[in-house]
Symmetry: none
Subunit: 266 residues, 2 copies
DNA sequence: AACGATTTTGAAAGAATTTGCAAGATTTGT
DNA sequence: ACAAATCTTGCAAATTCTTTCAAAATCGTT
């Protein structure tokens, strides 16, 4: 096998495992230790990876995958159902503000056919459509909050306070009769700006969020137009929300028509 | 069989497999090794593929210099060397504006140990440090320009025109005695705002950019403080730039291994 | 058709690169 | 601090590349 092909295979293998021992790589591409060492030297000089004692580590691991998208296997099916249901009530060609967070991310994934104009402070959402020409994405400015991939700070707040959009798709840490709460103080201000900028405010909550109170109060439930949740949400709370003037949409349970598309990684 | 037909078949075969050995190609088009070698030389000169020891590799069909791809092997080694050299002249803990584009991206990759505050409109750069706590990244707002992963538009311009930074690390389409040029009109305005916001302006060019003129004029060379390039850049142009008051840094050629370890300060 | 000129092809010899191995130096873990 | 593992360096063998040259094919002109 030729050197370049072998190096390419080493690289792609490392993209799957991030770390690999010398033995492992020698076995993978079927070459001697010396050859692998030499390849690693080349790849390190090219900035692809960094050598370690006993192997190598990929330097820039899969850039478009954030911690949360791996972590969010919790209530994944429910969030998918909520995402589809929420996308269903949004008309085509609207300008849509997408909140950061896993739930809103799943809504964004279902919006492609609606050709929306998306306005967001979420890097994962931005990456989702970064290479698609169909969807126009406006990203707010701001400082990247590391593990979440959210843009925060005054720049982000200002962007939204000067925007006007048709819909805002939001998520939060909890919803209770006293109001909606969220855990990250940094996000509160941005979320309020998002809600103020949109004509219609949609909140998405999976059933675990009902009756829960996070650290910081975000807003009373009256500020919300629509709530989208899944079939396991407590009926009495849904009833109360409806009494107080909110439209509540319950996404059908898993097994119903579902789009199992994966986020594309170019 | 005619030479052109054979070369076309080599090309289409490579589009299926990406890598191919000499033996493989000789077998595929039924010609001797010598003939294949000659064909590969022709095809390499035409920019279709790249010869390797033992065969050939198809290089990315889209050779447009502004399509962003971190894996683009076009002048990869040179860009890596430039990235390392440029990062070397940036002091620690500075606020650094990073331009969009592949060359500036490679600089950003080498900045991790400097613990900089990075300000950028490049999604790839943002993703690079999105999950790292060591580097603070400020992303400008803007509309995502799909294939480039760049944030453009008034929001982006405004972000930079209100910022102040220590250094700006820039890239462009070409540098000639008449000035620096770039091909995308959308980027020009943003780049000017970047340069105005920084105390020191560093431009990175691989050697292919020297003497080149792109569509849009960006600025005269006098607006630049430092130029970083690789060893293959034409000496007389470097000399002229120096005469005109610019500091020119030539990164050591590929293969020169330089010590990437930083002195430890406890 | 036929002839000479140009190009293309295939093969062989020498140069360059790559590969695998082994000895000595360095790092890691207990 | 010592033992085990890993890394670097130097070297010979194998592979691959370039150069050179003669045979074959192609082409334009009689």
């Amino acid at each position: 096998m030729q050197p370049e092909e072998r190096q390419k295979r080493i690289e792609t293998y490392l993209q799957q495992v991030e770390f690999a021992s010398l033995e492992e790589l020698a076995d993978e591409v079927d070459a001697s230790h010396s050859t692998i060492r030499r390849d690693l030297t080349v790849l390190e000089a090219a900035g692809i990876l960094r050598r370690t004692h006993g192997g190598a580590r990929l330097l820039s691991p899969r850039s478009d995958e954030f911690i949360f998208s791996a972590r969010d296997t919790h209530q994944l099916e429910e969030k998918e159902a909520i995402g589809a249901a929420c996308a269903g009530i949004i008309p085509a060609s609207q300008s849509v503000i997408i909140d950061a967070g896993t739930t809103a991310y799943h809504v964004a994934r279902h919006l492609e056919e609606k050709r929306p104009q998306i306005i967001t402070n979420s890097l994962p959402v931005a990456n989702l459509y970064a290479s698609a020409n169909l969807v126009e994405v406006v990203l707010s400015g701001g400082v990247i909050y590391p593990r979440l991939g959210v843009l925060v700070g005054p720049l982000a707040v200002e962007t939204f306070s000067r925007m006007h959009a048709d819909v805002a798709v939001m998520g939060a840490g909890g919803i209770a009769p006293e109001g909606i709460t969220n855990s990250h103080g940094l996000l509160i201000e941005i979320q309020r700006a998002m809600m103020a900028a949109a004509r219609q405010v949609i909140f998405c909550f999976d059933h675990t969020k009902f009756g829960r109170r996070s650290l910081m109060p975000l807003c009373p439930v009256e500020d919300v137009d629509v709530v989208v949740t899944d079939a396991a949400a407590p009926a009495e709370l849904i009833e109360e929300l409806r009494r107080r003037g909110l439209k509540v949409i319950v996404a059908p349970a898993a097994g119903e028509k579902q789009d199992s598309r994966q986020p594309q990684v170019p």
